[in-house]
């Protein structure tokens, strides 16, 4: 009996030890992350956690929800019980957050929304919101291809475009598709001949491209809504005896290091950045709030670049940069 009690007490002590921050007078910043899903997510976690941990007087209370909404809800309630000073939140899905976020509001803990914003954003109180502009990313993908074709004298040539979409219903897929389709209107020479989901994965990107190469004659441009699918498609294009990057122009999205390597190797043409490095924004925001500044409620978008083989393609809002010049700085 005694042993059991002791073991229980020990276990409880260990649990408390894991969640209780080191110093009570530190600013406690809690972060409810979706969980590990991709290199992008890992870089995102590293950036935010690294920034908070490195900041003097700040303590990180981190929760990895392993891609489950119920875990995130549990984490948010734990944060409230612990009485943290700030909550950083990105939701694994976009709906079902009304109740728990209302509880956060009731507890009067400042809420900072990042990355995937909840649908109920208009009904809850938050101090700042920061996330990628998926529609603009989608627009840039097509605009890059259109402007590049102009730059090589193919601006009037009719070209066949295929769009490889992300996981159906994901905010990145709906946003980028909207941007892709809107931008295609601007370039009448670009004709949409195929549209299919590759679920954001390399394996499916490969399989979809493999079928397209047989069912669609003469694909000129591949718009892949993330780099992984583009990288998968490159293998399928090679297997069909075509030269990726030359016979088929490939534009990816995210700007992960593997895509830069493919661009430098001449097998991919461009990638539109979707940065995971949120640390600096989080730091700036919390410092401003601590100084009593009122934040703008508008959603802030990160500054993002466009990377390609030679650089210098003007997309109106941004001019592309050569991937080989920045590949060494890329850490994810």
């Amino acid at each position: 009996m005694m042993k059991k009690v002791l073991a229980g007490a020990l276990a409880a002590a260990m649990c408390i030890g894991m969640v209780t921050p080191a110093f009570a007078d530190d600013l406690q910043i809690a972060f409810s992350q979706i969980g590990q899903e991709s290199d992008w997510r890992t870089a995102n976690t590293d950036s935010i956690n690294g920034t908070i941990e490195a900041h003097e007087g700040w303590t990180l209370v981190y929760d990895d929800a392993q891609q489950k909404q119920e875990n995130q809800i549990k984490a948010l309630r734990n944060f409230i019980t612990q009485g943290v000073d700030y909550i950083l939140f990105t939701g694994v899905v976009s709906t079902g957050w009304e109740e728990v976020l209302a509880e956060v509001n009731e507890a009067e803990i400042p809420l900072i929304l990042i990355d995937r914003l909840p649908d109920c954003i208009d009904d809850i109180d938050y101090v700042a919101a920061f996330g990628g502009d998926f529609v603009e990313e989608g627009r840039r993908q097509v605009a890059w291809a259109g402007e590049y074709l102009k730059s090589v004298g193919r601006g009037d040539e009719e070209v066949n475009v295929v769009i490889m979409e992300g996981t159906t219903g994901a905010s990145a897929q709906t946003g980028r598709t909207e941007g892709n389709l809107a931008a295609l209107e601007e370039y009448p020479n670009m004709k949409l001949v195929g549209q299919q989901t590759g679920n954001f994965t390399r394996a499916e990107g490969q399989a979809v491209m493999e079928s397209w190469l047989k069912s669609i004659d003469d694909i000129d441009v591949l718009i892949a809504q993330n780099d992984d699918m583009a990288l998968g498609a490159i293998d399928a294009i090679k297997a069909a005896g075509k030269v990726p990057g030359e016979d088929i122009i490939i534009v990816g999205c995210d700007s992960v290091k593997a895509a830069f390597e493919a661009i430098v190797a001449g097998e991919m043409n461009a990638t539109i950045e979707c940065t995971p490095l949120y640390g600096p924004f989080v730091e700036k925001t919390i410092e401003a709030l601590e100084n009593g500044e009122e934040m703008n409620k508008e959603i802030v978008h990160p500054e993002e670049g466009v990377y390609d083989m030679d650089g210098g393609i003007d997309l109106g809002t941004v001019v592309s940069v050569a991937a080989k010049d920045v590949i060494d700085e890329r850490i994810y």
């Binding site: 991709s38 990288l231 293998d235």
Partner: protein
């Protein structure tokens, strides 16, 4: 004159017949919409067979290989939910061994840190042991297969993540590329591996008594034990074998993309494999099984996927479309439908002889 009677009613009663009919029907629809769906050529630059039909067989390899094991698992009256996770474990392990030196995202190259045989052997041994673990929980621990294999289904993917620190490693090691993207003569390597495994499995279950043991244990475990079959041993072998096959599928999957993708590798493979087995005519209740049927079932699943890609079914409708076709196939195989056709052919035969 007495000839060997061609028994229609027996054929129409068989589930495999209907699986084959379904596959032919889907292909026929493809042919009507676009005859060039059937075109097969030799890709001049690589010397490999090239065509949508080849893609179907090639990309069905992972599910077919796993489903061979799943057939025996289901014949035992069980299920193995962990196979998808084992695919991820196998890939993560192979990539980890090749890229042991991966200091935070360095550039991949045509090399491996550990010898190639270890890159192949360790993931397969690990997956076999994990399958054995499933078997032990079921045979010795008396757990329900659904619950026992759920453990590794949930934790397996986590193990894969830990192995690679939650990251996606990439390699360019050419011998490894051979597994998923190479070829033997004009035939893509995954097809070669799949065919060899199917043949070996066929010999194992039909040329030895093992298949009969599996069916016997699946029908009645205690009766089998009383008649001298070591039920526990049969269960252990079947689950370990399924683990091994999942490991092989994992190597093919990761070789196709030259990377581990612990989040997506083998996702829903357990469901596809179970579906392939069921379409192939093996009942979930255990007992009689058919490896040939499973092979056809797996082909049907991949044909549907290829159909969706080839004919550009809109992304939003893809899932519903797949579900619709599978529902039709399952209904075609249902008892009343088969009975109906069997009765008709019996009646026809009776009319003829009268």
């Amino acid at each position: 004159m007495k000839t060997k009677k061609f028994n229609w009613s027996q054929i129409t009663r068989s589930k495999i017949t209907w699986a084959i009919v379904a596959e032919i029907l889907i292909l026929l629809v493809c042919f009507i919409i676009r005859p060039d769906f059937f075109s097969i050529s030799i890709q001049p630059s690589t010397g490999v067979l090239y065509g949508s039909l080849i893609d179907i067989v090639n990309r069905s390899a992972e599910i077919t290989i796993i489903a061979m094991g799943m057939t025996l698992v289901i014949a035992l009256g069980g299920t193995d939910l962990s196979v998808g996770a084992l695919v991820a474990v196998s890939g993560a392990m192979a990539l980890k061994l090749m890229r042991w030196d991966v200091l935070e995202y360095n550039t991949p190259g045509d090399y491996t840190v550990y010898p190639f045989f270890l890159v192949l052997l360790l993931p397969l041994v690990t997956c076999t042991l994990m399958g054995l673990f499933n078997g032990l929980l079921i045979a010795k621990g008396g757990m329900q297969p659904f619950i026992a294999t759920l453990i590794l289904m949930v934790s397996g993917r986590g193990i894969a993540q830990i192995l690679t620190n939650g990251k996606q490693f990439t390699t360019m090691y050419s011998p490894f590329r051979m597994i998923g993207q190479g070829n033997l003569g004009p035939i893509p390597m995954p097809i070669v591996i799949m065919v060899v495994i199917c043949i070996l499995m066929g010999i194992f279950v039909r040329k030895t008594a093992f298949g009969t043991f599996v069916e016997s244990v699946g029908v009645n475990r205690s009766a089998s034990r009383l008649s001298g079959i070591s039920s526990d041993k049969v269960i252990l072998i079947v689950y370990a074998l399924t683990g091994l096959l999942a490991g092989i599928a994992g190597l093919i999957y990761s070789s196709r993309i030259m990377s581990n993708d612990s989040n997506n590798a083998g996702i829903n493979y357990e469901m596809d494999a179970i579906l392939a087995v069921v379409i192939g005519g093996t009942a979930m209740t255990g007992g009689k099984f058919s490896l040939v049927g499973t092979f056809v079932g797996s082909l049907i699943i991949r044909t549907i996927v290829t159909f969706v890609y080839y004919f550009g079914i809109v992304s939003e409708a893809t899932m519903a479309f797949k579900a619709l076709i599978i529902a039709v196939v399952i209904v075609l195989q249902s008892e009343p439908v088969r009975e109906y056709f069997a009765k008709r052919s019996e009646a026809r035969a009776a009319r003829k002889s009268a």
